[in-house]
Every structure is written in C-alpha cells, then in structure tokens.
Amino acid sequence: MNYKFSRKDYIIYLLQQVPPEKADKLFLNKLAFFVEFGFYHLYNKELSANTYAAINKGPVINDYAVLFQELKDEGWINITSNHHLALIKQKNFDLPEEIKSATRQLIEKYGDLTTSELIALSHATDSYLITTKSEQFMGGIIDKQLALLETIFSDDASSEEEIDPRKLPHLKSEELHDYQPE
C-alpha cells in the first residue's frame, strides 16, 4: 500500500468524495485530519504529504490558507465569501484498492458529521491534547505517530470470548524483572 497523496491532490481527492454543500474550509480541515490520522492509526503509514497544526480551532492542515489559495490560483477550486470550497474540475486518481477502501470508510464515517461535531471530536483527540499539553500551548505540529495512540479509530471489540484463561502462563516470581522502559 505504498501510495501517498501530494498536499494538493489530497484536498482535491477529499473534495471529490464529499457533498459539495458541506465543503467549507473548516469542515475540510477536520475531515482531512480525521481521514489522515485514521489511516495512520490503521496502517502506520502517511496518507498525504500534509502536516497538521494544533491551534485553538483544533487540528488543522498546516498552512491551509496558503494551500487553498494555491489550489484556487491553479484553477482547481473556487473559494466563496463564506469560506466554501467548490471544486471546479475533476481529477482521476489511480489509487490502490486498499487506499480506496480505507479512505472510503473513513470519509463516510467522518464526512457524515457536522463541522461542529468534527470540531468537538478533534479537540478530544489524544493527538491534539498531547501536542497542546491539554490546550495550554498552541501552534505545534502534530506528530502523526500520535495517531497510534488514538482510541477513537478503534472498534470496541471484546477479546474475552476468544481467550481461555486456563491457557495463560503461570509465572514464577523468580523469572520476573523490574520493567525498564526504553
């Protein structure tokens, strides 16, 4: 699954997948974050070349204003006075099936939420809270590896039914060591 969107292609791809009426700047920023971090959580790989900044509005694409302006200047989108992003032309992406499938599910899941819901959810992510030290410090770039810590992308499956506790190892005290973190 070695495919990584360029910064601009990722925005174009997302705009092609969401209802046009929902595509305002903030919504797209949040969707980009959740799809990117959800993907990283699942596959431990970057989906796009974008980075994300932790600001008071929650996680957003780093330098998103510049990015959107460049897309406008290159004729891909229009930006309306109410911050709406309208895709002007389509682009054909030759994506691996795994990317299509993974992004489709994430886009469906988070694209169904309102901008307000996405904002609230993004403020509660571990990635954002760790980067901002619980919203004390703003402006930092969010390390994508923090996506691995997120629980919001996990299904709540139970393992109890699949483990037979009688098979668990009996551990003798003499074979225990003080745990030393790396």
Partner: protein
Amino acid sequence: MTINLNDGFALKSSSQFERRRKTLPQDVLKALDSKLKFFSTDAYYPSLNTKCLRVSGKTLKDLEVDSVWEFYVNRKEYRCIFYVRENEKLIILADIGNHDQIRRRYGRN
C-alpha cells in the same frame, strides 16, 4: 472492578514478555514503549482501553494472581496481557502479541 492500578503498584515483566517484546515490529515496539509510559503513570489512560478479563477463581488461584487484564498497544491488533497481585502491589506484564498470536497461544479452540 474496584482495584486501583494507580495506587502505588510496581511494574514487572516476565521473561516471556521480554523475549516477545524483542521480536515486535519496530513500529509496534515504538507504540508499546509509548503506551507503557502512559501505563506507568495512569493504567487507565484512555488510549490503553485497559480492561479486566473475566477469569474464574480457580484459574486465578492456579495462576497465583488476583486478576488478569489487558490493554491495547495499537488499535485492536497488538495487545498486552498483564496480571495483578494485589497484596504484593504488583503488576506483571505477562505477554504481548497480535490478534492471531494471542488466539494461537490462548484461544478457546
């Protein structure tokens, strides 16, 4: 469960855990170390999904532990199984593995 894992418990690991830890893929190892840092300060840190497993009193007695728990290392793939000995105030990292490995080792079938 009323046990408070944050109440001064020491953290130990089994030889088996250490052996298997060394064989983990690099990205999982990195995630494990991150999670264990959280675990050391707050065993209920939300990302860990720490959960007590239902184990019969007889099995707990055979294992010489008071309870068996697990937390997740990355999404729902790798997880760490740990034991608690309340009187000794001890948490023992017993094993780690992905879904298939855990099922192979301890699965019901």
